[in-house]
């Protein structure tokens, strides 16, 4: 069952250099309970996609000009500010890249979790403080009752991120948007945080959009993957299909550029060129200047989404 569907979302930023079309008609579906990986290089619009679902993109300079974000059957873009506040934290939660700066340094962790619980009053909690301690225990913070009195600077990075997860999941949302949740953490702590997230996801039956540029994390945790390039989603597939049978030249380049233990690889491939300036994006397919297989049509017409079967969708003229 579809929990979230983004249809033809266009978002632009007014910058000094001109208008940047940061999201150029995004289509994305998230099913209940699944983990969707959103991958791509820096600046391709992954975080903006996540933030636009909760309408956290600052306006100005950001502006959604077209499209729909359907969550639980309702278009979020038609909601008032007050209605959006009811959804934030209660139905859709978000965690960010750097846990050390994502928690307010002047309030205790417990205070910040209690704030979310008091605000949304989730069912099945007898008192706010009990909810705080339970949620810290659920992310495997040892001695949660006394740790709740700690300030963020008394927590390590991994603990801060688990604290963030505890806070954001204390109200049992049905969707978690995790924006590079492990990028700022070292590898052993990454695994621990991902495990905590996966356990809670199973327990709450929650869907997760995992925004990352770490393909390894995607392979380990995601059910489906959407690959973004310069404000477009170029390919979506379930995780096995994407890794075994990538279709879009960008996806192939991306996967080819990562060393893999399960394959005999003599050389890593590189994608020539660099990401386009979004104030002056290339005409047609935004990837064509870097694509070895580009054809005339790629320089003129933007490719549409093509369903190759089993939910494997690719936006490329090679298959049209």
């Amino acid at each position: 069952m579809t929990l979230l569907e983004i249809k033809n979302l266009h978002l632009q930023f007014n910058s000094d250099e001109g208008l940047a079309l940061v999201l150029d008609g995004i289509n994305l579906k998230v099913q209940k309970g699944e983990t969707l990986g959103l991958v791509g290089e820096s600046g391709c619009g992954k975080s903006v996609t996540g933030m636009s679902i909760l309408q956290l993109v600052p306006t100005p300079p950001g502006e959604i000009t077209q499209g729909e974000i359907i969550f639980d059957g309702e278009n979020l873009l038609g909601k008032s500010t007050k209605e959006m506040r009811e959804i934030r934290g209660r139905k859709i939660a978000m965690i960010f890249q750097d846990p050390m700066v994502s928690l307010n340094p002047v309030y205790t962790i417990g205070n910040q979790i209690a704030e979310a619980i008091d605000l949304h009053q989730p069912k099945g909690i007898s008192s706010t403080w009990e909810g705080v301690v339970d949620s810290l225990a659920s992310v495997q913070i040892a001695d949660p009752a006394s740790r709740a009195h700690n300030y963020p600077h008394q927590f390590s990075g991994g603990m801060c991120q688990r604290g963030m997860i505890a806070m954001m999941l204390s109200c049992r949302p049905s969707l978690l948007i995790a924006d590079e949740p492990t990028t700022a953490l070292d590898v052993t702590v990454q695994a621990q945080v991902l495990k905590v997230m996966a356990d809670l996801q199973k327990e709450l039956g929650m869907a997760v959009i995992l925004i990352t540029h770490n393909i390894g994390v995607v392979a380990e945790t995601c059910d489906r993957v959407a690959v973004m390039y310069a404000g477009n989603i170029v390919e979506t597939a379930d995780v096995e299909t994407l890794f075994e049978n990538p279709q879009h030249p960008y996806t192939r380049g991306l996967l080819g550029s990562i060393p893999r233990a399960d394959r005999d690889m003599n050389e890593l491939t590189i994608i020539e060129g660099s990401v386009p300036n979004l104030t002056k994006p290339p005409q047609g397919c935004r990837f064509h200047p870097r694509c070895k297989e580009a054809m005339d049509i790629c320089r003129q017409t933007k490719p549409t989404d093509l369903d190759l079967g089993d939910g494997h969708i690719v936006a490329c003229h090679l298959y049209g």
């Binding site: 307010n104 205790t108 417990g110 009195h149 600077h153 954001m168």
Partner: protein, 319 residues
């Protein structure tokens, strides 16, 4: 029960922090007294000859020197002087021959009244104005309030005091020109002293607020579903206020020294005016006492600033 624990925990850590700051201010105060003492000691001329006249006999000079304790080593003299100062005895004014403390004690309340009015108004007016300007960034409210803030901040206080007198006393006849005969008299000197401070506080709090509003934890607060008011007053303001509070308390002694000029212009009978007169007439014991009092107030307000920022920011308490 759990909440009670937090409070006790917090209280002990705040208490320990305050004790530590207090202990640290003792050497500073001692250092200041030493400097104030040495100013008098290093002043050219022999006080005994000054008192008895150049034609006095050597025996008389020796007797007086012994009587005043001036034959003792410097450290002993300093110790005796310090013991007197601690008891509020700063010696006698060279000019009036009256105890210095008599002249000063009546003036302290006036200076405190003036500087605290300026100080409090800079908090009560400066912080809301700066906050509003930040929340309404790049609107007319922001431009107008920051224009005024810049103007007040840039004006020299003595010129500002004169212009205020010209407008409100001499032209509009709303307020007295000078003196401290009625409550209304406080308004002009407090404005002259306080408006530049209001301007600087408003500008600083605006800048800090804008910075904190860009912090990731503000985004977290928004993602939690908190209302904009809770975000601004609970999450943003407290963080933005930390550097502003430190600056405010550090600037209090600066306000007191600014009062030297303002009190002279408005004939406000505070310590500043006395300081001005004492400097003009080289009345060293009075200068020395005022110096000590101002230095003591500086240390006191620094301490208060440290305590307030420690209360606001748990990270400061730890170190």
């Amino acid at each position: 029960m759990a909440c009670l624990d937090t409070k006790t925990l917090k209280r002990t850590s705040v208490f320990r922090y305050i004790l530590k700051r207090l202990a640290l201010s003792i050497p500073v105060i001692l250092g200041v007294t030493l400097i104030a003492f040495l100013i008098l000691y290093l002043t050219p001329g022999d006080p005994v000859i000054n008192l008895l006249g150049a034609r006095s006999t050597l025996e008389d000079q020796a007797a007086l020197r012994e009587k005043l304790g001036l034959d003792q080593p410097v450290l002993v003299q300093y110790g005796r002087w310090l013991a007197n100062v601690v008891q509020g005895d700063f010696g006698k004014s060279i000019l009036s021959k009256q105890p210095v403390m008599n002249a000063i004690s009546s003036r302290i309340p006036f200076t405190l009244k003036l500087t605290l009015t300026a100080f409090l108004s800079s908090i009560v007016i400066g912080i809301p104005v700066g906050l509003l300007a930040a929340v309404k960034q790049n609107t007319a409210i922001d431009h107008i309030s920051m224009g005024f803030a810049m103007f007040f901040y840039s004006m020299p206080d003595f010129w500002f005091g004169l212009m205020l007198t010209l407008l409100f006393s001499l032209t509009l006849h709303w307020l007295p020109v000078s003196g401290a005969y009625e409550p209304k008299s406080l308004v002009l000197p407090a404005l002259a002293l306080g408006l530049p401070k209001i301007g600087s506080i408003a500008r600083l709090i605006r800048a800090e607020t804008l910075e904190v509003m860009r912090e990731e934890y503000t985004l977290t607060a928004r993602a939690k579903g908190l209302s904009e008011w809770v975000i601004i007053f609970k999450h943003v303001l407290r963080n933005a206020a930390i550097p502003v509070m430190v600056m405010l308390f550090l600037s209090l002694p600066w306000l007191i020294s600014g009062a030297v000029v303002i009190e002279t212009i408005f004939a406000w009978p505070g310590m500043g005016q006395l300081m001005y007169q004492a400097i003009l007439r080289k009345d060293f014991p009075v200068i020395q006492a005022l110096l000590l009092i101002i230095a003591f107030l500086t240390v006191l307000f620094n301490l208060l600033g440290d305590i307030v920022s420690g209360l606001l920011d748990p990270r400061i308490r730890v170190n």
